[in-house]
Symmetry: C2
Subunit: 228 residues, 2 copies
């Protein structure tokens, strides 16, 4: 192989790029280190120079993903004109926008992430996302509680629960997608819509907010996402 030298940052990012693509396309367990180095045009020695193990590569993928997510979220939480509830709604609105924008990739991601051979990938990403999100959400709830706009005496615990609930959103979205792909758009949209409403209600009740103050979804969102 032609010997090419690149800056460590570039090289390791190339490896993470390839890994991300392969992991999502074929699954973590189905992708071999040899696959990764072939795609990245790098020798095995070079690979193990950057990552101590295949596992470490997975962690790098997850961490980078979480970091990018953080970069999207962070700005929303620094808008001083919004109170905590406004921030929550901004978060949901931003999340909807993102979902619609990246619907094709996202669908692909969901299908990949819930394959049985991808539990490790799923788990790592979940962990990484939780790690970056928890402090943000907790801080938001704390401020909201101080402001009096919501009720969360134990912001840490409440944040953990909210984020835990968010996981079931992913589960349901995946289930809805499957149903849609099976041809039953109406049922899929109805399920997703209904579920997201329940999710919104759960948050409102949990944080003792007035009915209708949380907008996780908007009319037609489920259909739009499924068909996008």
């Amino acid at each position: 192989m032609v010997r090419t030298k690149k800056s460590p940052e570039v090289r390791s990012n190339e490896l993470i790029d390839c890994a991300e693509r392969l992991f999502f396309q074929h699954g973590y367990e189905n992708s071999t280190v040899n696959d990764v180095i072939r795609e990245a045009n790098v020798s095995k020695g070079a690979f193990y120079h950057y990552f101590v193990s295949k596992e470490a590569l997975l962690e790098a993928v997850a961490t980078r993903l979480a970091q990018r997510n953080l970069n999207e979220l962070q700005p929303l939480l620094e808008d001083p004109s919004l109170d905590a509830v406004g921030q929550l709604n901004a978060l949901f609105a931003g999340s909807r926008r993102l979902k619609l924008d990246m619907a094709p990739q996202l669908k692909n991601t969901f299908n990949a992430l819930f394959k049985p051979e991808n539990v490790a990938l799923y788990h790592r990403i979940d962990e990484a996302l939780l790690a970056v999100s928890l402090p943000l959400v907790a801080e938001m709830l704390r401020r909201g509680h101080e402001e009096g706009t919501l009720d969360a005496p134990d912001p840490e615990a409440a944040a953990l629960m909210l984020l835990q609930l968010r996981l079931s959103v992913a589960k349901v979205m995946h289930k809805a997608l499957q149903r849609y792909e099976a041809g039953d758009l109406d049922a899929a949209a109805a399920m997703l819509d209904g579920w997201m409403r329940t999710y919104g209600t759960a948050i409102e009740r949990f944080l003792k907010l007035p009915d209708g103050s949380i907008e996780v979804t908007e009319p037609g969102f489920a259909r739009a996402f499924l068909q996008a």
Copy 2:
């Protein structure tokens, strides 16, 4: 090896026994099929006669565990003298009793289940438990909603959320255990206690129940469990 023939049921249960022990002790990925057959005194041919893959063995372990859990829970939900809220509380009480009774094993289980090499085991068990619990909880909520003792217009979705929340209990228990093992009993107990109260509150609010109607925990439970 001496050739011994046993009834399929006995044999496969022996294999599941060994697998369960090994998986929890050393982790799923760290346990090899060879380990299992050595412990079970069985040849590889015999093993693959009963299970098509190592993965299938994992599934069997998870399913049996879930089934046993179901056998514990089922009776509670068939007591006609209890309304839905009573059933929920009975569930929590039963779960507390079980936790205290089996504290040592349970602690071991937690420590094993949250090891990084055990994501597969964790995920499978979670899925299996969810599969058996979801219908039960959904039915309970449906009845409660009909009775008017609680508010859950979409029992399916609500059940999924409650069960999802339950996962974070496990997470927090694990974190508390770690803190306890690090020597800080007071902090650990406080964390666990506080968290379980928040959990109870979350359920009450979500189901529109009066304050104090759900008793996830009882005074001194956290300490008792940690020190058991």
